[in-house]
């Protein structure tokens, strides 16, 4: 059974491999954040319920240009420092406020990041969520994301940094849905709940295609799948 733990709360006193957001003291495993503890499998780990974005290599992120220099741009990506993007790397001329998606190439010890695979996004808007809730917005193999796309008709790119780019379709409904996911992120069976919610609001049957959609960025899926295993089990009905 998954349970909510606070920092310093005991997860297990058995010998286990340590997963994410835990630490060991005197042979026992403790949580270091507020989150949902999982000690059933081989690993003891915690899925956090609060926290800021900690960049990881190969994360797909959404950024906003925050400043222009002589030979490049400063791009805000919801981390401690804005990242730098050289003008050589892109053909488009950007302005302050331009939105782009990118992949994280490298991070240094101060958590300053390098980005690659830049794709400029025209129009659309950015919806911000808590970065720790991003796995739930994507869902297992992108299931939740497909429900959102089908229900609202928007094109969506979910950045790991908690910024979501959306364009077209029913944006107010999308914002409402994302707020609902965010506030119920720790409850069970959320994808089915959202299917019902969107069916009612959109006035049509929302049914997520089970196959991966190509628009869902691949490298992100890989990352998300791994993390999401901790949240939902096979049937997807465990609390997460």
């Amino acid at each position: 059974m998954k349970r909510i733990v606070v920092p310093g709360e005991l997860i297990t006193d058995k010998r286990k491999k340590t997963g994410s957001h835990v630490f060991v003291r005197e042979g026992k495993i403790y949580s270091e954040v507020i989150g949902l503890a999982n000690d059933e499998g081989e690993y003891a780990s915690v899925v956090p319920l609060e926290g800021s974005y900690i960049p990881m290599r190969n994360d797909l992120i959404v950024g906003v240009v925050s400043g222009e220099k002589f030979s490049g741009y400063d791009v805000g990506i919801n981390t401690l420092y804005p990242t730098y993007l050289s003008k050589k790397e892109i053909r488009d001329r950007l302005k302050v406020g331009s939105i782009l998606s990118a992949k994280i190439r490298d991070i240094d010890e101060r958590r300053e990041v390098d980005i690659e695979n830049i794709r400029v996004l025209y129009d659309g808007e950015i919806i911000t969520v808590s970065p720790v809730k991003v796995p739930r917005i994507i869902g297992r193999e992108g299931s939740m994301l497909n429900v959102l796309k089908d229900g609202t008709g928007s094109s969506i790119i979910v950045g790991r940094n908690g910024w979501i780019w959306a364009k077209g379709g029913n944006i107010p409904l999308l914002i409402e849905s994302i707020n609902k996911i965010e506030s119920e992120a720790h409850t069970a069976n959320l994808t089915n709940k959202m299917e019902e919610f969107l069916s009612k609001k959109a006035g049509k049957k929302v049914n997520a295609p089970k196959a991966k959609e190509e628009k869902a960025p691949k490298m992100e899926d890989k990352n998300v799948d791994k993390k999401d295993e901790m949240i939902e089990d096979e049937k997807g009905d465990l609390i997460g």
Partner: protein, 249 residues
Amino acid sequence: MAKKNETKVLVDKKGKRIDGRGVNDIRPLKIEAGVIPNADGSASLEWGQNKVIVSVYGPKECLPKHTQNPYKAVIKCNYRMATFSVPDRKNPRPARREIEISKVSGEALEKAIFVERFPGTEIDIDIEIIDSNAGTRVAGLVAAAVALADAGIPMKDLVAGVGVGKADGHLLVDLNKDEEDADDAVDIPLAILPNSEELVLLQMDGLLTRKEWDKALKMGIEASKKVYEVQKEALKKKYENVKVKEVAK
């Protein structure tokens, strides 16, 4: 106002105090996490007559740059009393006492946080005392620990604490203002990391015998663990009843 020679009976023959508590009881304590939407983490606390609001921002880039530490996050803790928090208006200028409490509170909280994970950053903690009746520094610390956990900052443990001391010849837990103002009063605010019982804050005002001190410390640690249970409950309660935010049309 009691005259100088008039002595109050602070603990009666049955071991009851003025407000009906036993010597080992703390005042009614209520904590709520996540009260300020725009802060990264926040908490409000009511502990007897004490009222505290704490907000936490960060980790963020540490500015001005000369305050950065390349090895760990810098904790910038601000303890402030509102002008209306005491019977006579308090000058809003940060006083000697507030600067000192800010320093010791920040150092106590730093012991609980994995500061070495965030080099070159700062974590801002603002402790605002809205109403006070003795024991505000531990009240601030207790609320700050909850706010830090609410911000999702990695921590070894929460920080729980309580004031212990002596008044009217009795060792007491969680003194209120009447007890703190007794002629023979001793006041020891202390804070611990509840799991390891490591002391992170210990101050003392007055004199105790060695025997009394040993007993007071034991009482303080026991009471701190009661406080810790309330803190845990407050953090978990945030996720029990979830309401969906409606988007304005």
